[in-house]
């Protein structure tokens, strides 16, 4: 009853606060949309400037979807600084040089890869040409040897027989043996990929965003809910209304649960908006079920609520609440599945399991990209529930600071 009234009041307050509503619903949509377009499409072409480069290399670069600008010798630094190309490829007396600014790995990575591939292919072509030449030479040579043998035969026939026998030369060589096998496959096929990539999850069309997006969905749910819950509890405390509230016979647990469910409603709505927007407007591909995505993020939002409420009791101003962002929120991004925890320093691997986003982010990837079922993600979900229980308990106990019963 009291809890319901508390929930009703929170809803009223949030609905009247247009800025908070915008922060909850428009901000994540705005950022996710930005990210969707900000990461370069893998199909996008990278521009390379070629100085003194043979047409052969240029052809290969162009075959590999790169835009090649042919340039004369120039000041490479200013040329790159002006943004004319991502890289400059130069050849001087057989030495290849690729110059990059080294400030944009997104474009420069493909430029380095493409250029070295092209140069390597050209070198391979040269090599196979050389082999061809060699084979031709050897064929010529073997023809010469045959000619030579024949002329020796002719010569010997002209010699007196006893001389020929004394020379004891066995010329009964089988001419077939000396025939050099010229069936060497000198055609190295450059059109086919040297290696076939098999994708266990998804396919080659996956962009960085597609891997990042499930994590981001969880991150936004966590971040905004944490912030709003923390701020509103702080406001309740600093305006004295918490004290006033505790002067009524309301139970401390009723306040905590009222807050949890009051803001929980908006957290669930926010989660729904972010997920539906990602899936239906931004065409995020999901292999697993959308229901599981909801379950993960709704649990996560309750963790964020509990944590936000808890941390707000340690601060005395909005600014101090903001100070928790670099301490509590940002480090969790690194453990949320973007980077592989298994390859981190051992002590970092110990930190990961205390971070709620570690479970949510990695489980989102499992569901969205790998299609894990509810049964397969039950362990991380249980841990999220455990976080909720711990934070709720700590909050109720923490309320003792304001009232002893």
């Amino acid at each position: 009853m009291r809890m319901l009234q508390l929930i009703k009041r929170i809803c009223k307050q949030v609905l009247r606060d247009k800025r908070t509503l915008a922060l909850l619903f428009l901000a994540p949509i705005f950022v996710i949309t930005l990210l969707n377009y900000i990461f370069p499409d893998p199909d996008d072409e990278v521009t390379i400037a070629a100085v003194n480069v043979s047409d052969e290399v240029i052809d290969i670069l162009e075959d590999n979807d790169m835009i090649v600008k042919q340039e004369k010798a120039m000041d490479i630094k200013s040329y790159l600084e002006e943004g004319n190309a991502s890289a400059v490829l130069e050849e001087k007396a057989g030495e290849w040089t690729l110059t990059i600014l080294n400030d944009n790995p997104m474009d420069e990575g493909p430029a380095i890869q493409g250029s070295s591939q092209a140069v390597m292919e050209t070198n391979l072509n040269d090599l196979s040409d050389n082999i061809d030449d060699m084979i031709t030479n050897m064929e010529d040579m073997s023809a010469n040897v045959e000619d030579m043998i024949e002329s020796i035969h002719e010569m010997m026939e002209q010699l007196p027989p006893e001389v020929a026998q004394n020379m004891n030369i066995n010329l009964d060589m089988d001419m077939d043996d000396t025939d050099i096998d010229t069936d060497i496959d000198s055609e190295i096929d450059m059109d086919e990929d040297p290696i076939t990539v098999e994708y266990i999850y998804g396919d080659e069309s996956y962009t960085f965003f597609e891997i990042l997006n499930p994590i981001l969905v969880s991150f936004f749910v966590f971040f905004f809910v944490f912030l709003i819950a923390g701020m509103s509890m702080l406001k309740e405390r600093s305006s004295g209304t918490l004290e006033k509230l505790l002067s009524t016979p309301i139970r401390k647990s009723e306040i905590v649960f009222g807050y949890l469910f009051g803001y929980g409603i908006f957290a669930i709505l926010q989660t729904a908006v972010i997920i539906l927007y990602s899936v239906y407007i931004l065409d995020m591909e999901i292999v697993g079920s959308i229901t599981n995505m909801f379950i993960i993020n709704i649990l996560l939002s309750f963790v964020a609520l509990g944590l936000g409420l808890l941390l707000s009791t340690f601060v005395s101003s909005e600014f101090q609440m903001i100070q928790f962002i670099p301490l509590v929120i940002i480090p969790q991004i690194f453990f949320s599945g973007m980077l592989n925890v298994d390859t981190m320093e051992p002590w970092l691997q110990w930190i990961a399991p205390i971070m709620p986003l570690y479970y949510a982010g990695n489980t989102m990837i499992d569901v969205v990209l790998k299609g894990f079922t509810l049964g397969e993600i039950i362990a991380p979900l249980s841990i999220l529930i455990l976080f909720i229980v711990i934070f709720v308990t700590l909050n109720i106990v923490g309320m003792r600071r304001y009232r002893k019963v």
Binding site: R2, K12, Q13, D17, T241, L246, S247, T248, R403, K404
Partner: protein, 240 residues
């Protein structure tokens, strides 16, 4: 009846209240007066169960404090305006009314609003209220559960003189059903109380009706009582 006996409270090494014993009688206005920093608010917070006292006991109607159910009987108005600025005046009243868990009749809400003269402003958001209006709304909220005990921490700060007189008349009317404990450091208000508790030096330095206290100290107003108390303290201080 509020009975405080041998109650002490300290924060860390700093003692705020030392060995306070006092009975507060029902159906009268008891004024808790004294300079700032003498523990008035701490005493009230201990009464409400918001702070834990270290030793001694506090009983309200023979129930030991702290007790959550006891809060049903108490109306509390804090020193600061504890209001939701993004709700209207009426919504604030209704919300806190619901916190007492029982149905508060519309008529009670209405008469409380009339009492503090906020009827025509009840649909306004509190953030548009003046300081005095906020104070009146806080008072209305403290009255909403028709409490047996009304604990008001500086209730008339920022309220204009006419309304202040009006409110004091109302407070005296409330005595019929309630026991009032009011802190103030406005001395002319102290004279309007039935009983006074003078706080000084971490405890209650004097108590009685305003007239009794003035006679005991042989002075003509309450401010001078505190000056006397100051002098006594100086005389009694050990000479180093």
């Amino acid at each position: 009846m509020i009975q405080i006996s041998n109650m002490s409270k300290s924060f860390g090494k700093q003692t705020i209240l030392r060995d306070v014993s006092v009975d507060i009688d029902t159906n009268q206005i008891t004024g808790l007066i004294g300079p700032s920093g003498t523990g008035k608010t701490t005493l009230i917070k201990c009464l409400m169960g918001m702070e834990k006292y270290d030793t001694g006991s506090i009983q309200i109607d023979d129930t030991a404090v702290p007790n959550r159910k006891l809060l049903n009987k108490i109306g509390y108005m804090a020193q600061s305006d504890s209001l939701y600025h993004d709700l209207t005046g009426l919504e604030n009243i209704q919300f806190f009314a619901h916190m007492y868990g029982r149905k508060i009749p519309k008529k009670a809400v209405q008469s409380t609003l009339d009492l503090v003269q906020l009827e025509q402003h009840k649909k306004k958001l509190v953030q548009h209220y003046s300081g005095g209006m906020k104070r009146r709304l806080s008072l209305a909220i403290a009255l909403i559960n028709q409490p047996e005990y009304l604990i008001l921490d500086e209730p008339t700060v920022g309220i204009d003189p006419v309304l202040k007189l009006n409110i004091w008349d109302q407070l005296h009317d409330l005595k019929k059903d309630s026991t009032l404990l009011i802190t103030t450091h406005i001395m002319d208000e102290a004279m309007k109380c039935d009983q006074l508790l003078l706080m000084k030096n971490k405890g209650i330095a004097a108590s009685g009706t305003p007239q009794e206290i003035l006679e005991n100290f042989g002075v003509s107003d309450i401010d001078q009582v505190f000056l006397r108390l100051e002098e006594q303290e100086y005389e009694n201080a050990p000479v180093n």
